[in-house]
Subunit: 401 residues, 2 copies
Amino acid sequence: MRRLHRVSEALPRALQHLRPPPELEVPLASALGMYAAERVVSSFKLPPAPKSVVDGYAVRAADVEAASQHSPVPLRLRGELLRPGSRGGLSLGPGEAVKVETGALLPEGADAVVPVEDAVEEGGGVLVLRKVTRLENGSLPGEEYDEGLVIVERGSRVTPVAIAALALEGRGSLRVYNLEARLLNVGDEIVSGTYFRPFTHLFLASWLEQHGVRVVEVSQVGDDEEAVREWVSRGGSYLTVLIGGTSMGGHEVTVRAVEGLNPEFMVHGFAVQPGKTACLAVLGGRPLVALSGLPVAAMSTLELVVRPLLRGLGLRLPEYPRVLARLTRRLTTKAGLLGFARVRVFERNGELLAEPVMVGGSGSLASLLRGNGFVVVPEEVEGFDEGEVVEVHLYGEVLAA
Amino acid sequence: MRRLHRVSEALPRALQHLRPPPELEVPLASALGMYAAERVVSSFKLPPAPKSVVDGYAVRAADVEAASQHSPVPLRLRGELLRPGSRGGLSLGPGEAVKVETGALLPEGADAVVPVEDAVEEGGGVLVLRKVTRLENGSLPGEEYDEGLVIVERGSRVTPVAIAALALEGRGSLRVYNLEARLLNVGDEIVSGTYFRPFTHLFLASWLEQHGVRVVEVSQVGDDEEAVREWVSRGGSYLTVLIGGTSMGGHEVTVRAVEGLNPEFMVHGFAVQPGKTACLAVLGGRPLVALSGLPVAAMSTLELVVRPLLRGLGLRLPEYPRVLARLTRRLTTKAGLLGFARVRVFERNGELLAEPVMVGGSGSLASLLRGNGFVVVPEEVEGFDEGEVVEVHLYGEVLAA
C-alpha cells in the first residue's frame, strides 16, 4: 500500500494550488445560507436624531422639571401623532407636548419623552405627573444602527440578521461565492443497475446542500477511465466529487482517471480511518475529491478532509454543536491514523454519555443511524478509555437514555 | 396596560386549540431540512450474507489454518473479481480463492477473507501467508444496515443520513409537514414608502426559511383593520405573521383586526422583554403571531414564543449551539419578565467571555450585529452578576478577543 498522507500536511499543500471559488452577485432575498464574497460594513447612524423608546409624549425636559404626582405640569397637546417612520418637519415650542409612539423620532425642540403612564390627557392638554431628564426615554443617535459595524465578513455565511442589515443599507444584492458541485457515481454495477439501491451520492449531495454548496449535477459512469476523464473535463463547477473506484486493490479507475488529467496537485491515501482511500486533487485551480462509496468512509472524508479544505479557503462552514460526554466503554482507533469514531450521545441522570458505535466498518449506514455524533481522534492517540470525557461533534439529536 | 401573560402559561393553552400542520408527500430529493410527518423504521438487513471488509481473497478458513510467512498455503485462484454490488451465484470450492474488493459479498462456500497484503499471486494461484479465522475480515449480516432502526421520527428534521437511509429503503418520497407562512407588514408608513427601508420582514422571512418554514407570501397593508382582516382571511398557509401595529399605545390596528376575526384563542401582551407587545392567536386551528416591527423585539418573540410553540407542536426545530460563558459585566433584566438578553461571546486566554450588548433597546439592530448570542433570563431572576457563568444560545460565530 502507498504512503498515507496526514490531512494536516496535505491540506496546506492543496491550498497553495487552489483558487478561491468564483464570485456571483445574487439578489438579497436568495443570499441566505450562501457565503459572502465581500465584506460589508454599516455606513450610517440610526436614529439620526433622538427617538422615543416608549409610547408617550415628547416634551422639552426643562418644561417638566417641576412635575410630580402632587403638582402635575400642564402642557398644550399638539394634534399630531408621531409614529415610527413619520417624516420630520414638526417643531415643538415651549410648553408644548406631542404624542409619540415607540420608535418615533423626537421633533425638533423636544429632548425627552414622558411615558403614557406618567401623564393624563385633559381637554386639549396633557398633565405631566413626573419629571423627565434630558434624553430620558429617548435613544441616542446611533443606538439602533451605527457606522462601522461588520454586517458580513468575506467568507461568512449569510444569516437572517445580516439580511436585515443589508436591507437597511439599501442593498438589493450581495456578492457571494458561487459554490457549485458536480457529483459522479463511478462503477459498472451502478450503471447496470445491479448495485442494490445506491445511496451514498444522495448523502453527499444532501450534506453539500446543507452546507451551502449547490449540487448542479449528479451523474454516473461505468468503470471507464476515459469516461470519467471526459466527464470531469466537461464540467464547470468549482467542486468535483467522484464517488467509488478509489479502492487501493485492483479497482482504481477513478484515481487513474484523475492522474491522467495531470492535476497540479494530488494525494491518494489519507492517514484517516475510515476513509483511507480518498483522493484529493487540484485541477485548474479547483478542488476534486474522490471518495469511497461506503457511507461511513464518505462521511469521514467530508468531515475530516472536505470541511477543513473549504474552511481553509476562507469559507466559514458551520460546525456541528459540540458537547463533552463521558464514554460508556473504551473507544479504540488505530495509532497513526486520524480517527473518525461514531458515538451515540444520550442523557442519563443529567449527564451526557457517549456510547461508541463502531460496529460494521466503513459500510455501516446502521452505525450512522444508531449514532448521533463523532469524535475526532488525533493520530497520536489510540483511543480513549471507558469513563474518559471526550468532545463529540453532534450531527443528530441527543435523546434521553 | 393589560395583564402580561407568561409564555409558559400561554403556550400550553394555545396548543390545546392548534391543529398540527397539514401533511404533504414530497420527492425524497427535496425533503432535506423539512420535518417528517411520518415515522420510518428500517425494514431489512444488509449484508444479507457476510461481506468483505478488505481488499483481498475470499477463502474457506479451514483451507488456510496452517498458513504462515514460512509455510504459505497455495490456493487455486478463480478468474472472477467480486466487487461491491456484484450479483451472487458463484460457489467457492475447497482449495479455491477468489479475489474480492472491499464491500463484496462473500461467495457461497467462503467464510473469511485474506487481506491483499497477506497473499502473493503466482501463476494461476495465490499463496496465503497468514491464517485467517472464520468470518475474519468479513462483516456479519445486518452490520451495515439492520431491521428496526429509526430513520426519521415524526416531527424530526430530515438530515443527509436520513436521506441516505430512505433511499436505501427504496423510498422515492416522504410525508412531511407542509409548513408554510405568510407575512404581512402593517403600517401606513410602510405602504406610503415614508418608512426608511423596512427590514424586519426580511429578517423574519429568513429566520423562518432557516428553520424549514417556507415563506409563500410577504405583503403590506396600511393601518386599516378591515384590510388586515381581509388579508388574514384570504390566506391558506399554516402560520400567519403580522408585523407592526402591536403597540399598546394608540396604534393597535393589528391586534384589533385579529380580535375581530373571533379567534378560538388569543393572548396579547407577553411577560417577555423585549417583545411585550406580541400577540398570539389561534384561527381555524392555525397559529397567528403578531409581533413588533422592531428587530430585537421581533427576534425575542421568534426565539421565546414562536420556536417553543412550533416545538410544542412536535416539530423538532434545531436549537442554536449553546455554550457556557463568563459575564464581563452585570447583565440586568426586569423581574417578572422573561429576558431576552443579547451578548457578545468571545474567547480570551482559552476562556469564553460574554459581554452584555443591551444598548439601544428593542429597535437596535446594532445590538444584534454586535452580539452573537442571547441569554434567556427566567422571570424570577433580575439578571446575573459580573463574573457569573451563563448559558448562551449562539446565533452567530464566536471570534477571538
